[in-house]
Amino acid sequence: MKQTIFSIQDLKKYYLVKLGLFKKAYIKAVDDVNFLIREGEAYCIVGESGSGKTTVTKMLLGLELPTEGKIEFLGKDLSKLLSDARSAKDFRKNVQAVFQDPFSSLNPRKTVKDILEKPFKVHNEKIEMETTERLLEEVGLIPPKEFLKRYSHQLSGGQRQRVCIARALALKPKVVILDEPTAALDVTIKAQILNLLIDLKEKYNLTYIIISHELPLLKSIADKISVMYAGKIVEEGAAERIFNNPKHPYTLGLLESIPPPDPKSAKTKTLPTLEGEPPSPVNPPKGCRFHPRCPYKFDLCDKIEPEKVEIYSEHYVSCHLFNRK
């Protein structure tokens, strides 16, 4: 069994909102989430916007504090790791991130050279002339000398994302958290970036946590997928199983809403759609949170919250359809 990198237990994140002078409510962005991430895995979290997937990564990065629950990194409590300056630095070195929007993730007043030297400066490490150049070569920005003195507005979207990846790799991390790494890019560039990520993963034995809503792209990279809906994980399992044999009605709906690549069949067939919209995170539906949109809904669904069931080894579904004894 491979080493467990992240272990997440009963993770919750509620945001307090003031609805009026006295009325208060909680936005349940993440509600009772459990999962494990093992070394060398590409763990993907998918879901619609507002499902809480970005909040989960923010907590994994220590940018947000969980309301409840525990995050363990290599067996140690994350909140304790971050409270000590030394172990916090160590954690930062090991866990890096690439953000969604390459247009705002590079400081507009800095050159690529400044940006890539920053990680070394923060950790008081020596910077050699070749260090930054090698990083740029690594992410396919060739010739590196030409890119070093550029500002982010002089780069294309794909090039920016490559710089972000280079920055994330600078400190040789174990884990890279990718928050929608391809969402803001052109279709052709998406594939290039994805291939680059796959190559780098193999080369450095990286562990990826990928947040995305682009299921087809994930096919080529994901080892494990968990599907989030309204702050909860509704299905989790090996990527192959999820793609070929999805269990939860929501996963099914997500997979069916991908347009088929063949234009002829796409024209004759209207796409099956998930009716309705994601529920309000302030006041989620009773019972199963998906029941108002679920085509297979029956009498239990709006009363009792479904338990997590292991239907294959390490393939979990939270749905009453699989819980009838």
């Binding site: 630095k89 991130a97 993730s105 400081n107 507009p108 007043r109 990680p119 950790h123 400190l171």
Partner: protein
Amino acid sequence: MNIFRRSRSLTISIILLSIIVFLGFTAGVLTDKEPLRTGYAVGLTAPSSQFPMGTDQLGRDIFSWTLYGIRTALFVSTISTGLTVIISILIGLPAGYFGGKLDQLLMRVTDFFLSIPRFILIIFAVIIFGPTLTNIILILSAFSWPTIARIVRAEVLSIKEREYVQAAKVLGAGNLDIMFNEILPNVMPPVLVAAALQMSDAILAEAGLSFLGLGDPNTASWGRILAIARQAIYVGGWWTLLFPSLFITATVLSVNLLADGLNDIFNPKSVR
């Protein structure tokens, strides 16, 4: 040169300002008379070849006084604006970045200063601490920071949510590092515009203080000539009023145009 084509205000202001600065620097060459020395002429003298801008009742040369006045105006306004900007950043940056209680505290202090008429406060402070040039500069900056501090805070609030700030946090950068190296450079454009406006305010405030007799008695200030003009004008001494006023107007106008021009450059979208 591209910059000048983008903003006409900037071009005009830079031409005007360089003329004014040039006159200020070469004051010693352009006139051999000392600015505050009495007795160059007997009584109020109209402009002539000897006194291009005439003299006042005590025979002081208005031309040399006005030119040396440029030095005072620019010195007071640039130094006090510089200090104002530094104070504003030191207050606005942590307030916006840390938020919470610190923000509440700093912003209430800011509101307090904003709620009192500034010029009256400045007059009181000058009366208490004495009218020296240093005091005037310090007092001007001490009471001018609230507006710019608010601008800094508002900008920080928006910029701290950008992903490059998050990325710096993820890299393990400290709060000071993030505030001054990642956020501050991106806060500066609107602050520079506000600073230019502050500079014209400072010129007017200094002139105003001198007009009220609260300027440094040992420096040549436009405001003091205007105070003299208040009496001289009744006996036809229009030149004592006209020339210093022209210089005040031209300087304030060019500094305001500079602010406008900077704004054009930093927000190119707002122009078209």
